[in-house]
Symmetry: C2
Subunit: 411 residues, 2 copies
């Protein structure tokens, strides 16, 4: 096992620069970076950077890594975010480096490989068909019926995921650049009306969940633009918890993860059944890792870095389950220039709010492309009863104001 | 499990067009092919072909496969020869198709990943250092001492493998195009004088060798240009057999193969120890599969096709071990235009010779680049005693004549 501090190859993509806390992780002694064209200057003068056109091409990333390794080979590879994970796994397997390899990571990032494996293991999924061409996508949608859900085989944060109401909407989706880039398959899924959506976040060590918790989203992450979103941790005695933890365990076993941080999404259907949506081998996006650290003292980001470098997890004993209601709220966002935004202090003063972290301020330009974790800010709260959860959400919705104007200056 | 006949994606490279017997395998109903630029016309009008610049780029092969899948997705992927194996495994894993995936195939094709894993499992290897640049190769050679062996991390048939006597020879090697193409690592190994070299050929099913046999090369495959080469099967009661079969079993377990055909190469060192050289997850090259089919009735090529398509092996019960000496001989070859070559009939008449298969005839142009299985022809023989083996090899060496002239016409 390598001994820190390590020379780490970081695989990143265009939209997200890793946080300083991640770049300064104590296990990382020296950093080399593969990222996309134009992002050399995101990193300091002590960091060797090689760039590729598309981080979704694992062999291109590997060849860029070879240029960096010609200077000095790395001890380990780290991809903090979804987009870089497949290439990081590929580079690890190619060079025999420790940490999750290309097949394992592939089963957690490529929804086609993931669903085939989960279905074989007998887990319930929404019926789906893989499409490799617009023609196949049309045939799949006609077979599954309208509305249906379309999503690229790769990508996190609901990127490119759409509920398609009918043939015309499908044509609009297929005409967009994002459909089938570089031959990426498209998954066409039956639209299953859901009663609730949950996420399970866990630390898996030697194939077994060593820490796991379950949360329920306030509403589904797709389809409610402008509303408060977020989730609340289910307390330890919640009746649905055991069933969802068992689903997570079965998914991890089916996909063959040894050591990793996972984020599973599950739907509850109208008839009370469960449907596994997808599972990632990285910390959840947005404020979820913070919520979990606040509540349990478990640092998912530190654990993800440590497992990526094949170091022991060094998990603390998680704080015991309690009946407290812990929640995270994403303050809504929309594209444009922000002209008015409720100050953090006003939200912090509400009863139960533990912290408010604003990601935007008045004057910011919010880009067109938003993800499921996009927000103007994150609110973390702890309250004693179900009624207080509802009360706080109503208060936040009432107090929060966001005004934007289009970039061209008109309102 | 898919039911034949299947739509099979074949991954091929420039130098080798698959044999008609392979293309017409009964499990293959429809064929689509990814091969390298310029080889579309190697296949018939009923075969969809997409080409790539370099079949060693798995993502490029995958994107070419996506173009073929847009017409009709394949059920399975087959790479007959070493060069296409990594891309075939990658495409299988990407699309969740059955058969050996990218990590498994990677451990049997990428000598760096292979050796790291075998060393971790405690198997004896020649000391080696991975080099990602000419500078690192020089440092590695200086560390390991002269002579040393250099080889690219990928490639079968001893392609690019060289014994390097000293710094000048290393510079000549590094200056050649073949060194470090596309950032492929170079392995620099200590040169270990060997007393003998063996190969073990096997069928592994559910992680266990179900059929395995051991052969001894007449001489090492490198370094004796112009001599008769080949190998002889060790009879069932041979004292070295059990040790070498156990080495094979340990290597397969260490690399995690479920189902596949393997070809292992092992050195016997001067002090009587063994060194594992490398192991492939495909049938051996040259006449070895024929020798094994003659002797045991086990068809390694059929088994490789079936496992690649995730079909059951349908192995016959191997014929029992006996004390017969079975051997294959490669008739030497060298670049140039063949002006004289011993006729097959003359060699067939020798006592013990069962078949002679000529690969070349007078007038043929033999290309510059030769592999360990390159030959003017293959001789298969069975004799009763050790003395008869030596006698037959001496007879063959005495009878066989090859004359060539340079391509420019001078002698």
């Amino acid at each position: 096992m390598p001994q820190p501090p390590l020379h780490v190859l970081l695989v990143c993509s265009r939209p997200r620069r890793p946080s300083p806390a991640l770049l300064q992780h104590p296990a990382i002694g020296e950093l080399s970076v593969v990222t996309e064209y134009g992002h050399v200057h995101d990193y300091g003068p002590d960091t060797a950077v090689a760039t590729v056109r598309d981080v979704n091409d694992p062999e291109a990333v590997r060849r860029a890594a070879a240029r960096l390794f010609a200077r000095r080979p790395a001890d380990a590879v780290l991809a903090p975010y979804e987009t870089g994970l497949p290439a990081a796994g590929y580079v690890r397997s190619y060079y025999g480096l420790p940490g999750p390899g290309t097949e394992t990571v592939g089963r957690f990032t490529n929804k086609l490989a993931m669903k085939r494996r989960l279905a074989t293991a007998g887990l319930s999924l929404a019926p789906y068909v893989a499409a490799h061409s617009p023609r196949q996508a049309r045939a799949a949608a006609a077979e599954l019926g309208w509305p249906c859900v379309v999503k690229p085989a790769f990508g996190g944060g609901s990127k490119g995921v759409a509920v398609v109401e009918g043939p015309e909407a499908l044509e609009r989706y297929l005409a967009a650049d994002r459909a089938l880039p570089a031959g990426t398959p498209l998954l066409v899924e039956e639209f299953v009306p859901m009663a609730a959506e949950y996420h399970c976040d866990a630390v898996v060590e030697r194939g077994e969940p060593r820490f796991a918790c379950v949360s329920r989203y306030f509403g589904p992450p797709l389809g409610r633009p402008g509303a408060l979103t977020g989730s609340r941790l289910l307390p330890g005695d919640h009746p649905e918890r055991a069933e969802l933890l068992e689903l997570h365990r079965r998914a991890v076993t089916a996909l063959g993860l040894e050591d990793g941080v996972t984020h599973l999404e599950v739907f509850r259907t109208a008839d009370g059944g469960t449907l596994l949506s997808e599972i990632a081998c990285r910390p959840a996006g947005g404020p979820i890792p913070d919520m979990i650290e606040h509540r349990y003292g478990v640092d998912l980001w530190d654990t993800h870095v440590r497992f990526s470098l094949s170091l022991p997890s060094e998990l603390p004993v998680a704080r015991p389950e309690s009946t407290t209601h812990t929640l995270n709220v994403l303050l809504p966002v929309r594209p444009g220039v922000i002209t008015e935004l409720t100050p953090a202090a006003e939200l912090s003063a509400l009863p139960g709010v533990r912290s408010v972290r604003m990601l935007h301020a008045v004057g910011d330009l919010v880009p067109e492309e938003l993800y499921s974790a996009s927000a103007t800010g994150f609110v973390h709260a702890e309250v004693a009863t179900d009624a207080e959860v509802d009360g706080l959400l109503a208060e936040l919705a009432g107090r929060f104001t966001l005004r934007t104007k289009p970039v061209d200056g008109s309102r």
